[in-house]
């Protein structure tokens, strides 16, 4: 583009008009993306373009980490090795018991003519980086739709659930952590089977149970696990431990603060659990009837 001397009269589209057009365009994009979710193809295309750059820029950080790891002393490695060997023994014991329990469970289920448990496929993935967006708690992992990961899958580490896959790109996937304020997970209190839903908490790094009756039987130290009634999270995986229960006489609900048991903010390798669609329970009917139907019902009642 060769620029001559500035034109005196022909100044093109005025800046305010240009601002108006572009601002309107971004607002349209915002509405389309937030309400209709219609731009995922564009987003995926751009992400594929950005992916090589993002990967290349992780290299300096990873090189630094590797160098630091190389210099870690023999003593700490030996200690870690010891711990791992002990953990492996423990798991072997549990694994043997599990086989026997599974067989027994299958027999009992067939006796009671229950459905089979939801089948789950697991994919180990590596966390690439934490999203820079300050409004959410998200990490990006190094496997995407190409490796069979689907949106909605649960993500766990060795101690418990840490999040859920919320957006899948061809080569990467976005995992929303449990501590995100918009993330929710159906749980059950292991001690007494009380059902609840855990949301990301007000204080950073915590969860909370909303809408719990003030008299609900829940005490400090209770462990909550996934209930599995959503058909998305496999049941029985530990989620969090109750840290504090505040019962205020003036409030309608008890304020229950939990601390996640999984390493929500320290993670390198995690496991994505995809529920097999064939064994997923059928989705419930939408709760709210259509407007016409509702009016008709109202009419019928009269």
């Amino acid at each position: 583009m060769e620029l001559g001397p500035p034109p005196l009269f022909n100044q093109g589209v005025p800046a305010r008009v240009r601002l108006g057009i572009l601002a309107l365009l971004s607002i349209v994009l915002l509405v389309v993306d937030a309400r209709l979710r219609a731009l995922d193809a564009v987003r995926q295309g751009l992400e594929v373009v950005l992916y090589p750059l993002e990967r290349a820029l992780l290299w300096p950080r990873d090189a630094f980490r590797d160098a630091a790891g190389y210099l870690s002393s023999v003593a700490s490695l030996t200690r870690e090795n010891d711990q791992l060997r002990r953990a492996a023994l423990e798991y072997a014991d549990k694994g043997l018991a599990t086989q026997q329990l599974q067989a027994e469970n299958a027999r009992l289920r067939s006796l009671l003519a229950l459905r089979d448990r939801v089948a789950v496929r697991s994919t180990p993935v590596q966390v690439l980086y934490e999203s820079r967006d300050r409004f959410t708690r998200k990490v990006v992992v190094d496997r995407g739709g190409g490796a069979g990961i689907t949106a909605g899958s649960a993500v766990i580490d060795d101690a418990g659930v840490i999040g859920q896959v919320t957006r899948v790109y061809p080569l990467t996937a976005e995992v929303t952590l449990l501590t995100d304020k918009d993330q929710s997970i159906p749980v059950v209190v292991l001690r007494n089977g009380l059902r609840a839903v855990a949301y990301g908490g007000e204080e950073p790094g915590s969860l909370e149970l909303r809408y719990m009756a003030p008299g609900a039987d829940i005490v400090n130290g209770d462990v909550v696990a996934t209930s599995g009634i959503d058909g998305v999270f496999p049941p029985g995986m530990p989620v969090a431990r109750v840290e504090r229960v505040e019962r205020d006489a003036g409030e309608q609900f008890a304020h229950v603060v939990l601390r996640p048991v999984g390493g929500v903010d320290r993670h390198t390798v995690v496991l994505v659990l995809s529920v097999d669609d064939a064994t997923r329970p059928p989705a419930p009917e939408p709760a709210r009837p259509e407007r016409g139907e509702r009016d008709a019902r109202k009419g019928a009642r009269r």
Partner: protein
């Protein structure tokens, strides 16, 4: 109100001299004077795009949400909007905003809107900003960056996002503090070597 309008938008989007130059005027009406700067060489368009791309790479680094790393793309956009408003305009800002949206996994259009506003502000103020020495430019750049952040925040809170805390705005402050360094760095290729011609002193 009129003063504000004159101050803010009197020459929005107006044409600019094709050759980039630093302000060389010496005497102002008030009798103050500024040290004249050397004329700058014309800018190389390839360098503009390379620097914007470099800023994008810096933004793609895995900073994480805790470090108040400045928004390098916003800073580079302000710089080129001020220096070369006819080459780098709002459309460029919009496209870079979309790329940042995809990388952050933010709503489509959030940064696009923020950068468009930022770019409009910078283009409106570009004649004024270039009159100031580099440190005097910092107080002009800070509100521009803050406006962009506030726009981004407004978009997020309008769809139900939480307030991220006041530390969120630290990003702009760090960015504005980096302005002198950035403007020195981005003008390096345009400076001419100091050569004194004894026969024709300018």
């Amino acid at each position: 109100m009129k003063r504000l309008r004159d101050w803010f938008g009197s020459d929005a989007g107006g044409p600019d001299a094709g050759i980039s130059r630093a302000p060389e005027t010496v005497d102002l009406a008030g009798g103050r004077s500024y040290r004249p700067e050397a004329l700058l060489r014309p800018v190389n368009p390839a360098f503009i795009w390379a620097s914007l791309f470099g800023a994008l790479l810096l933004d793609l680094l895995p900073w994480g949400p805790t470090i108040p790393a400045p928004d390098f793309v916003a800073l580079a956009l302000v710089f080129w909007n001020v220096q070369q408003p006819r080459r780098v305009g709002m459309a460029t800002a919009f496209v870079f905003g979309l790329l940042i949206d995809v990388h952050d996994g933010a709503l489509f259009g959030q940064h696009a809107l923020a950068y468009t506003l930022l770019s409009y502000g910078a283009i409106s103020l570009h004649r004024r900003i270039r009159w100031f020495p580099v440190l005097g430019q910092v107080p002009h750049v800070l509100p521009l960056l803050l406006v962009a952040q506030v726009a981004s925040l407004a978009v997020r809170m309008s769809v139900g996002g939480p307030f991220p805390g006041w530390g969120y705005f630290l990003q702009s402050v760090v960015g504005a503090l980096l302005w002198p360094f950035a403007s020195w760095l981005l003008l390096v290729p345009q400076r001419r070597p100091i050569e004194r011609d004894a026969t024709r002193p300018l």
